[in-house]
């Protein structure tokens, strides 16, 4: 946890991605590779060190089969 953008909801996003990635049986390296990025890219996202925009979220979600609408629902219910 290093950067400034730490909110409860940012944490939720990071955690949802990390958990679902593992559930789906991927390593950070594998997901990163599919996105043409490097492993630290995923590490930074999952640790919450890096912000993630909507388009990126959808790209990742598609790979790891993350339920984005459900995540958004939980985010909306959180302040």
């Amino acid at each position: 946890m290093r950067k400034s953008i730490r909110s409860k909801r940012h944490e939720m996003v990071a955690q949802a991605i990390g958990e679902q990635r593992i559930r789906a049986g991927f390593t950070q390296y594998e997901v990163a590779r599919r996105l043409d990025r490097h492993q630290p890219f995923m590490a930074n996202i999952e640790s919450g060190d890096r912000r993630i925009d909507v388009v990126e979220l959808l790209d990742i979600a598609e790979i790891i089969d993350l339920d984005v609408p459900a995540l958004i629902g939980r985010l909306r219910a959180t302040r």
Copy 2:
């Protein structure tokens, strides 16, 4: 559009926000103010000069009453 990473889908997000903001009757200044940001913040978002993370999108959507699930649906259908 000045920065490097602009995709069709990023454009869609920017445009959806701009259009809905106007539809909802807000100025960039008003939305920015509610978010404790400055007017160029919204200008940069709507012009696609600035990426917008999921949490920010939800914050903005709540103010301008943007249908996020619908936007996401359109994003998923676009490559």
